[in-house]
Structures are given as C-alpha cells and as structure tokens.
Subunit: 116 residues, 2 copies
DNA sequence: CTGGATCCAAATAGATACTG
DNA sequence: CAGTATCTATTTGGATCCAG
C-alpha cells in the first residue's frame, strides 16, 4: 500500500486530534493506567468513545495495551516510545493555549494544566 | 461571559485543528496572500469552506483581514503576532509528523514539507 | 474577485442497554 | 472490569448556484 503525498502536519493532527486523545496521552505520561482509571479521569467520555480513541492510538503506535487473563478482566494502558515522543509537543501546545486563554481573560483549568 | 475550566490544549486544537487551518497559517507565514491565491494553494477547498476557516482564524485573532474598497474586490490575509507565535509549534508538529511517516515508510509530500 | 445562501451527504459523538 | 451493540443527535464538509 502506498500513502504518498500525505502532509505531515495533517497526519499528526489526525493521529492526536481526536476527542480525548491529547488528554489520554497526557494522563498516561509516565504512568500506566487501567481502563476504569482513565474513564474516571475523562469523566465525560462514554466507554464507547474512550474505547474508540484508545484503539486508534494503539493502532497508530502511540500507546500499548496489556491484557491480563484474569477474572475480572484487567487491562493496562501505557505510552510507547513514540507516544512519549509526542509529550513535549503537547507541552508546548499547552503553554501556547495558556497564553492565549490568559490574553483573553479566560481561566484555564483542567488536568492538563500541570506541567510534565 | 465566563469561560472557566477550559483545557488549554483542547482550546488550542479547537483554534487550529479545523480543516485547512494549519495549511492556511503555514502559507501565510511571512507572506500576505489574497483570497484567490489561498484558494489556488488549497486547491481542494471550496470557497465556502475557505471563507469559514478564514473567518474563524480571524475571530480567534490569528490572522488579519484587510479589505481594499476597490472594484473588483481585493482582500488580503496575513498573520497577526499571535498567529506568527504559533508557527514554531506547527514546525515541530511537522517534524514529528515527518518522523512518524518515515518510520511507517510513507513519503511525506505537501506544501508544508519545506521548513520555515 | 470574494464571497453568501441553500441543500444534502457523511462523519462524529452521545445515550442507553447489555455481556463474557 | 472492560468493553459491545444499537439507535439517534449533532457536527462537519461538499456541491451548486447566486450576488455586490
């Protein structure tokens, strides 16, 4: 299969631009989290949406999914090296966004506000 | 109006994540372009879509729109300082995307491939 | 030349219920 | 616990035509 003539910026935005994806990567930075833990952190995400975003990130090679064959089920998600390599960019986007919001007198406040 | 509790990363992606928006900013980097010139550069964008993206970027303060009161109409678009401040991030996203595509044996090729 | 207006197709996201 | 399945609601994007 040939994918010539793809714009690198558009490709990147397709990979990390999905709803909840930046948040997922941010929360997984340095940690390993279970499905339920992610769901609590992204309280507004339905299981269906969260699963979809996780599968796509996994297929794009940014996160790893480890299934433990136990009852009840246990699944752990973590960043791959590729996923980790994107965190600095997320960080600079976060900085830019904070400046933008501050300039517009909007108070930024979310779990991504802390620095990594 | 109060916009508390907005995530800076999500805010940023809303601002620059729209279709054609990264491309528009990239093309305007250091240049001033007319509507028709942008349309040629973004050949797949319909006038309606291009107008919509430009208006949103203008409302978010990333680009400036200058109308010359002549016949036929002449409108020029350029980056504001805020828009210019986003170019380095676009640049690092571009780098990351190129590495990603290369790692997957996909040949990147678009008007954003050149470095700024 | 620079769009606006309208209509329509497709993609995306949410609510809810259910299961190994 | 970690998801699926189904059905809708909403958003987004494209096609086409029109106008100052």
């Amino acid at each position: 299969m040939n994918h010539d003539y793809i714009c690198p910026v558009e490709a990147t935005l397709e990979i990390v631009g999905g709803k909840y994806k930046p948040l997922i990567l941010w929360h997984l930075s340095g940690k390993t989290l279970r499905f339920g833990q992610l769901q609590k952190l992204l309280s507004s995400a339905t299981p269906k949406m969260l699963t979809k975003q996780l599968r796509e990130l996994e297929n794009d090679g940014l996160i790893a999914r480890k299934v433990y064959p136990v009852v009840p089920p246990k699944v752990e998600y973590s960043l791959t090296p590729l996923g980790t390599s994107f965190i600095p960019i997320l960080s600079s986007i976060c900085d830019w966004g904070n400046n933008y919001l501050k300039a517009n007198n909007i108070c930024p406040n979310c779990s991504m506000t802390e620095q990594k």
